[in-house]
C-alpha cells in the first residue's frame, strides 16, 4: 500500500479540481453528436458530447472514468473545442496533450484513449454538417 507520492502539475490539479465541461451537455440549439473510446485495461474511458450549430461546436462536454491526467486531458480538450469551427478542428497529438498538462510518459496510453474519443467526436460532427 505504498509507492511514489502523488505528483501532478498545477494544470492537472486545476483542471481536476474544476472539471470544466464535465457531465451533461447543457441544453441548446443544434445537433448533438458524441464520440467515445474506452480501454479499461489501460484505465481510461472517455466520452465527448457536443452540439453542432452553424458549423461550430456550439458546446462541448465530456464524461470520463480514469486517472486525474485522463480527466484533466478530457476537460482541457472539451474547453479547447468549444465554439471552434468544425472544419478547423483536428484530433490532438498525444504528445502535445501530454505537454499541455505535463503528463508523465507512463500516462500516454491513457491520453491516447482521450484522443481516440475526440477523433470519434470530430468524425461525428463532420458527418452532420
Amino acid at each position: 500500500m505504498s509507492g511514489e507520492p502523488l505528483r501532478y502539475s498545477p494544470r492537472v490539479r486545476e483542471l481536476f479540481a474544476a472539471l470544466p465541461g464535465g457531465g451533461a451537455l447543457a441544453p441548446g440549439e443544434g445537433v448533438t453528436v458524441n464520440g467515445e473510446a474506452a480501454a479499461l485495461e489501460r484505465g481510461a474511458w472517455v466520452r465527448f458530447e457536443a452540439r453542432v450549430s452553424g458549423g461550430r461546436l456550439a458546446d462541448c462536454a465530456f464524461r470520463a472514468w480514469g486517472c486525474p491526467h485522463t480527466l484533466a486531458a478530457a476537460a482541457w480538450l472539451a474547453q479547447a473545442m468549444r465554439a471552434a469551427p468544425v472544419a478547423d478542428l483536428r484530433p490532438a497529438e498525444v504528445r502535445e496533450l501530454a505537454h499541455e498538462i505535463e503528463a508523465p510518459a507512463a500516462k500516454l496510453g491513457r491520453l491516447l484513449v482521450v484522443v481516440d474519443a475526440q477523433s470519434a467526436l470530430l468524425a461525428a460532427a463532420r458527418a452532420v454538417q
Partner: protein, 396 residues
C-alpha cells in the same frame, strides 16, 4: 490527531509519534549519561544499559515474553528477514520447506522468494474468503521437512485476522517453528507468547504503535529456542544475532510506546472497532460500495472499502489535503499496480483500483471519522457525476 491539516486515517502505515514517547526520548537525548554505548562497562555505559534493559522489559511485557527473549532490530522488516532467513538457513540440511501465504507483507514474501532462490521450497497458502489463513490450510501444508511457518496475524491491507493461537498449537504439536509477523497486531490486540507457546518468533516495531521509526524487535522463544543464523556480522550484540551499537533513545521510545499500548489494550481495541464501524456506516451514502475482507474476525482499526465506478488515483487526488488514506494499488512511477492481497481475495484489478484502506488509531476521534466519511462520499459522488453511461456497472 490533534493537529491542523488532513484527517489522518493511515495508521496502519505508521502512527504519529505519541507525545509521551517523544518526551521520554527527549529526556534520554538530553541525558549525557544515556549517550554512552550500552555495551561499555563504565558507569555511563551501565547507565545507558539500564535504560535499554528497562525498555526491553516493557517491549517484552507487551507480548507476555521474558525480557531476554527480545532482540532489537531496525524495524519489523529487519526482524522478519532475520526470522525467516535466519531460521531457514540455520535449519538442518534435510529441512528445506517453508510455509507462507500469498497475502503476507512484502517483507515476508520477499524473504521467502529469496529462500526460493536458494535451496528452499515455499508453499504459498491462499486465504479463505474473508482474507485470513485457515489453520486447516497450514496443517495440510506441513511436511516432515518443513523448516518454518511464517504468517501475519493481521493483514495490513484488509485487517483480516488469522487464528494464530490455533496455528501455534498446530506448529507446537509438529515441532515446527512458527514466525508471526505482528507488525499490525502488537499493541493493538492482546498477544501472549507464554500462552501461545507455539510461537517461536514474533516480529513487530515501534512506529506502528506511536513509537519512533527505525526500531523494531524480534521475539525469540527461549524453550525450545529456534536456531537463528545472523544476517550481519561484526559484533556480538543482541545475543550475537544483531551486531551494531544499540540506539538507546529509539529503544527508550519503543519501550514507552509499548507501555502505553499495553495500558490501553483493555479499552482501545473496542473503541477503535466502534469507530471503524461508524466509518463504514457513514460511508454507505457512497453506495454501491463493498468491503474487502470481513468485519469479524478482523483487526479493530482497518477498513478496506471499494467504491463502484471510481478510479482510485482520482479518488486519492480528490481527497488530497483533506484525508490521508492508502489506495488499493501501489503507485510506482505513476503506474498503478494492483494489490497482491486484494487479488488473492479474488478482486478484479478494476475493483482493487477502486478501493481505499482506511486505518484508525489511538488518536482517531468520532468527529474525524464523520468528517472524513463526508469528504469521501462527496468525492465519490463528484467523480461519479462525470462517469460515462454504463461505467458504474462495469468498473467494479
Amino acid at each position: 490527531m490533534n493537529r491542523a491539516g488532513p484527517i489522518y486515517l493511515d495508521w496502519a502505515a505508521t502512527a504519529p509519534l505519541d507525545r509521551r514517547v517523544a518526551d521520554a526520548m527527549c529526556a534520554c537525548l538530553a541525558d549525557p549519561a544515556a549517550q554512552a554505548n550500552p555495551s561499555s562497562g563504565h558507569a555511563s555505559g551501565r547507565a545507558a544499559a539500564a535504560l535499554v534493559a528497562r525498555a526491553r522489559g516493557e517491549v517484552a511485557a507487551l507480548i507476555g515474553a521474558p525480557a531476554e527473549s527480545i532482540v532489537f532490530t531496525s524495524g519489523a522488516t529487519e526482524s522478519v528477514n532475520l526470522a525467516i532467513l535466519g531460521t531457514a538457513r540455520a535449519s538442518p540440511r534435510e529441512h528445506r520447506h517453508v510455509v507462507c501465504s500469498r497475502v503476507e507483507h512484502r517483507a515476508v514474501t520477499g524473504a521467502c522468494r529469496q529462500l526460493e532462490r536458494e535451496v528452499f521450497e515455499v508453499s504459498w497458502l491462499s486465504p479463505a474468503a474473508g482474507g485470513a489463513i485457515e489453520p486447516a490450510a497450514v496443517a495440510a501444508a506441513l511436511r516432515p521437512d518443513t523448516a518454518l511457518v511464517t504468517l501475519m496475524q493481521v493483514n495490513n491491507e484488509t485487517g483480516a485476522l488469522t487464528d494464530i493461537a490455533a496455528v501455534a498449537k498446530l506448529c507446537r504439536e509438529r515441532s515446527v517453528p512458527l514466525h508471526v509477523d505482528a507488525a499490525q497486531s502488537a499493541g493493538k490486540l492482546p498477544i501472549d507468547v507464554a500462552v501461545d507457546d507455539g510461537i517461536a518468533l514474533l516480529s513487530f516495531c515501534a512506529h506502528k504503535l506511536g513509537g519512533p521509526k527505525g526500531i523494531g524487535a524480534l521475539y525469540q522463544r527461549r524453550q525450545p529456542r529456534p536456531a537463528l543464523q545472523p544476517l550481519m556480522s561484526g559484533g556480538s550484540h543482541e545475543a550475537g544475532l544483531r551486531p551494531g551499537t544499540l540506539a538507546t533513545p529509539q529503544i527508550v521510545g519503543f519501550g514507552a510506546a509499548c507501555r502505553i499500548a499495553r495500558e490501553s489494550l483493555a479499552t482501545e481495541p473496542a473503541r477503535i472497532r466502534a469507530l471503524r464501524e461508524r466509518l463504514w456506516q457513514a460511508l454507505q451514502p457512497a453506495a454501491p460500495l463493498w468491503r474487502n475482507g470481513v468485519a469479524e474476525p478482523s483487526a479493530p482499526g482497518i477498513l478496506n472499502a471499494g467504491f463502484a465506478g471510481v478510479e482510485g488515483e482520482s479518488l486519492l487526488l480528490a481527497l488530497d489535503g483533506e484525508v490521508d488514506v492508502a489506495s488499493g494499488a501501489a503507485c510506482h512511477s505513476a503506474v498503478a499496480e494492483p494489490s497482491d492481497v486484494l487479488r488473492a481475495l479474488g478482486r478484479s484489478d478494476l475493483a482493487i483500483q477502486a478501493s481505499l484502506r482506511f486505518s484508525l488509531g489511538s488518536g482517531t476521534t468520532e468527529a474525524e471519522v464523520d468528517r472524513a466519511a463526508g469528504l469521501v462520499v462527496a468525492a465519490v459522488r463528484r467523480l461519479r457525476s462525470v462517469l460515462p453511461a454504463g461505467a458504474l456497472e462495469r468498473v467494479a
